[in-house]
Assembly symmetry: C2
DNA sequence: ATGTTAATTGCAAATCATTTGCAATGCATA
DNA sequence: TATGCATTGCAAATGATTTGCAATTAACAT
């Protein structure tokens, strides 16, 4: 019943799924909903923890994040702790940016500017490499954690 | 016999170990020897593979690298593939630098300049963070791999 | 509506990197 | 040369991620 209700609620994100001949499944919608509500990079386990129990298997989250990454719908970040983190890529954005992470409490600040972009060109010229990109993250101690 | 031969062969690196009341053991010397001979970041497994069989346990390499890192004798790098890599820190160097890594063949180029250092200061001022550092690695396709 | 089919999921087991417990061993110092 | 604590090897534990496979389901054509 009400055959189109479901489609009406689908966001651009789900449309993107459709366009790639991917199925719009409950787990995928749930994952995208979580990402939409969180503006910071989330680990798969964090996504899993936020989801209602039984909503989606951890393995499915891993598989979904790979798919979303390959579709450029999420951006993967490495904070150097051996756990991948993902952020939804906004409309008209390429998802490329950096973070400032507190090494004590793990607070995360997004950094607007991307500095080394200009340098990639110089690097590419000097080295002969092509398609040069970079990963850059900053680490420090946030104001709250400075009082030891 | 020949009680001092061993000591005569000890490098500055082993002296450093001594100074920190660390023991100069065969596995540690072997590991440092490997690092001295390789100018690129090595994974623990790569170090293990280069070492003569039975020379040193993998777990010992993991423990040694942690120790060497805390003593600032090696620098740890993350290339985003979930495996730590280490480079010996040269005399008078702080070990801080970056790499350009080929995403196809994993060739690694060291990059002399460190660009974002000046930006750390600005970031620290803007955010209130202290002790701001960064990790930066570049990725691309090397000349050899460009011919598909 | 319903059937068909390929994509997707859950679950459990497998991998991979890394860590850790513990008893045996080995350096450094007396 | 003896003593004591650091260090090691080995095996088992951990934590993140991947994978095989049978059961389920979305998409689309009946």
């Amino acid at each position: 019943m009400k055959p189109h209700v479901h489609q009406e609620r689908l966001s651009e994100l789900n449309e993107k799924l459709r366009q790639k001949s991917r199925k719009v499944t409950a787990p995928r919608q749930a994952i995208l909903d979580v990402l939409r509500k969180h503006r910071h990079p989330l680990t798969n386990k964090e996504i899993f923890a936020v989801l209602p129990p039984g909503e989606c298997d951890l393995a499915t989250i891993y598989r979904s994040m790979h798919m979303l990454e390959s579709m450029r719908m999420v951006q993967r970040f490495d904070f150097g702790d051996g756990t991948a983190r993902y952020e939804l890529i906004c409309e008209g954005d390429d998802g490329h940016h950096h973070h400032l992470i507190c090494t004590r409490c793990s607070e995360v600040l997004e950094i607007e500017d991307c500095f080394p972009v200009a340098l990639e060109k110089k690097l590419a010229e000097d080295s002969g490499f092509k398609f040069v990109t970079h990963k850059l993250e900053f680490f420090g101690v946030c104001p709250k954690c400075q009082g030891k």
